[in-house]
Symmetry: none
DNA sequence: TATGAATGAGTCTTCATTCAT
DNA sequence: CATGAATGAAGACTCATTCAT
C-alpha cells in the first residue's frame, strides 16, 4: 500500500546502476566501446534494454560514468600512496607497487582506458580529467628523480612511465599468463634498487 | 585494343587497392575498426563504396589484408636487422633502433595493431601470425641476454619488451609531442650501454 | 480514523485528476497529442507517472476525458446562450459573442480541438460527440438566418461558421498578438449589423 | 559493364525523392508529423526504411523539404496572381479565387501547414519563410481595401483572411463533403461584390 | 572496372504501460 | 492513494553489403 521510501528507491537505483556499470565495463574492456551494443550490456547485466536509460542518458554517458567512478576510486588509492616520510627511492618503489596494485585490482578499467586513449574524440570530457591526473604523477616522479640526483629527471620519469605502461599493457593483453608481480619485483630490484644507489657525497 | 590491357588493369587494380588500404589504415588507426564505416573509407580513398568489394570481400577482410601486408613489410625489415657479426650488446641496440625506426615509419599501423591486440575476437586469423613473429623476437633477445650473462635472461627480455612497448605507446598516443628519438637514445645510453658492461671474466 | 475519510479521498482524487488534466491539456495543445509524453505530463502536473494510470486507463483515455469535460462545460455555457426572447439578429450577435468568450476562456482547449480535427483516427469516440454539437449549432443558426430572410440560410450559416473558425484560428496561432475582441466587434458591426437590416417590406 | 551515367543516377534520385516526399506529405497531412513513422512512409512509398536517409538526413529534414518545395510551387502560382490592370475589386476576387485554386490543388499541403502552425517549435526554419509570404499578401490586400475606401483597411483585410482561412479549414477537415467552389462563389457574390460597391465620388 | 541506389538487419533511444511496495 | 523502477515494443537512424548498369 505504502509507496516505497526514498531510501528503498535509492538502494535499488544504486544496485541497478552498479550492475549496469559493471557489465558495461566488462564488455567495453573486452570488445571495445564502439563494438559493444546496449543490448549486450543489458543482457550481461540481466536487465532490459530500456532500463539503462533510466540511469544514463546515453551510451556515451554510461562510458563517462564508468571512467569517472574508477578515476575517483583510483585517486582515493593514489592519495594514500605518497608517504613523504620515506626516502625518494622508497617512495618510488611504493609508487610502482601502488600502480601495480591498482592495475591488478581493476584490470578491465585499465584495459578500457588504454583502449580509449588510442582513439581520438571518443570522449572529450574524459580526456582532460585523465591528463590532469597523469600530469600530477609525472610531476611527482620528476621531483623524486631530482632528489636522486638523476642526470635528466624528466626523461628518467618518462622512461619509468613507459616501463609501467608497457608492463601494464602486457598484463592487460596476456591476462592470466603474465606474471605481473614477478616482473614488477624483478624490475624494482634490478632497475630501481641497483640503479639508484645512495650517492654518498 | 592495346596489347598491354592486362597489365594496365593490374596496375589500376594495385593503385585502387593501395588507396583503399591506405585510407582504411588511417581511419582504423585513428577511430578504431568498429567505429569506422565503409563509407568513410571510400570517401577518404576517393572511390565508391561498391568498389571496395571488388578488392576485399568484407570489412574484416580489408583489415586482414592491411595487417598482413604491414606484417610482411615489417618482416622484410626485421630480416635485415640481425647482424650476427656484432656483439650481443650491439645487436640489442641495433634491434631497439630497428623497432623505433619501424614504428616511426608506420605509426598508424602500430596504433592499429595495439588497438586490435586489446580486443578479443576482432581477428582470429591475425592473432596467430602476430604471436609467431613476437615469439621469434623474444627468443632472439633471450639468447642475447644469455650471452650478456644476465641473471634471468627471459625476464630481462620481457622487461625490455615492456620498455619498448611503453615507449611506443607514448609515441602513438602523444603523436608529435613525444620526442621518440631522444627517448630512445636516452634509453639506450642509460639502460643498455651502462647496464650491460662487458664482463671481464 | 476520521469519519470523513471517503469524502477526503474523493476530494484528493478530484484535485489530482484536475491537475493531470490541466497539465495534459496545456501540453497537448502546445505540442500536440502524439508529441507529448506521459512523463512530461506527470512532471508538469507534479505527480508520478504511475499515478496517471490510477485515474485514466491510457493516454488516449486521458485525451478523451479532457475533451469531454471541456465539451460539457461548453454546452453548459451554450445552453445559457440562446435567448429566444431576442430577435434573430440579436441572437446571432449574442451567439458570436458567446463563441468568442468561450474561446478566450479556454484557448488551449480550442487549440487542441483544432489540432485533433485535422487528424484522422486520433479519437474515434470523440469525433461523434463534437460533430453532434456542431450540427446543433448550425441548425440553430440556419433557423435564425431563415428568420432574417437571407437568400441561402445554410450557406450563410456556413460562411459565418467559417469566419468564426478563421478568427479563432488566428487567435489561437498568434496568441497575445491577436486583437480578438476588436476583430469580433468590427465583424459584428460591419458584417452583421449592416448586412442584416430589418426588411420592412 | 559501364557504370550508370550521372544523368541516369540523377533521374533515379529524383523519382525516389519525389515518391518519398509524396508519401510523406500524404501521411504527415492525414496523421500528423509526430504520429507518422518512417516505416509508414517507406511502406507507403514502396521503398525500404533505409533509403529515406539517402535523400533526407532526418525526418525533420524531410518535412522541411516538403514544405519548402510546396512553398516554391505556391509562390510560382502567386506570382502570376496579381493583375494590376484590373480594378481593386476584381483583383480581390482574383486573389480569392487564386487561393481557392491553390488549396484545392494541394489540399494535403495546406492541411499539413495548418497542422504545423498549431505546434510550437516543430520547425524553426520554416516558420519564417511562411510568415514572410503571409505578410506580403496582407500588405497587398490592405492596399486594395484602401483603394476601395474601406473604413479600416487593415481590419477588413484580417477579416477577409479569417474568412478564407475558415473556409479552407472547413474544406480541409470535411474533405469531399465540403462544396468549396460553391462556398467561394457565394462568398464572393455576397461578401465581396455586394459589399464593395463602386463609390461614385 | 566503377558507381551509387537500394536493402534490411541491427543500433541507439523513447515511451506507454505495469507492478511491487 | 502514490511512487518510480522495470519492461518491451516501436521509433529514428546507421551501415555492411548487394546489384543493375
Amino acid at each position: 500500500m505504502a509507496p516505497k521510501t526514498k531510501e528503498q528507491f535509492e538502494e535499488i537505483r544504486q544496485q541497478s546502476k552498479a550492475a549496469i556499470m559493471q557489465a558495461a565495463l566488462e564488455l567495453f574492456a573486452q570488445r571495445g566501446f564502439a563494438a559493444t551494443s546496449i543490448s549486450q550490456i543489458a543482457k550481461e547485466a540481466g536487465i532490459s534494454k530500456g532500463l539503462m536509460y533510466n540511469y544514463f542518458s546515453s551510451k556515451e554517458d554510461l562510458l563517462k560514468a564508468i571512467v569517472e567512478e574508477a578515476l575517483k576510486d583510483g585517486q582515493k588509492m593514489t592519495g594514500v600512496l605518497w608517504d613523504d616520510s620515506l626516502g625518494p627511492k622508497e617512495q618510488l618503489i611504493q609508487m610502482i607497487q601502488g600502480v601495480i596494485t591498482q592495475v591488478k585490482s581493476n584490470r578491465n578499467y585499465w584495459k578500457l582506458m588504454t583502449s580509449l586513449s588510442l582513439q581520438k574524440d571518443v570522449m572529450s570530457g574524459i580526456e582532460d580529467i585523465v591528463q590532469e591526473g597523469k600530469a600530477g604523477i609525472i610531476e611527482r616522479i620528476t621531483l623524486l628523480f631530482g632528489q636522486l640526483n638523476v642526470e635528466d629527471p624528466l626523461k628518467e620519469g618518462y622512461i619509468l612511465g613507459a616501463f609501467l605502461d608497457g608492463i601494464m599493457m602486457h598484463y592487460i593483453v596476456l591476462e592470466e599468463n603474465y606474471p605481473l608481480d614477478e616482473m614488477a619485483n624483478y624490475f624494482i630490484r634490478e632497475f630501481i634498487e641497483k640503479r639508484y644507489q645512495p650517492t654518498k657525497s
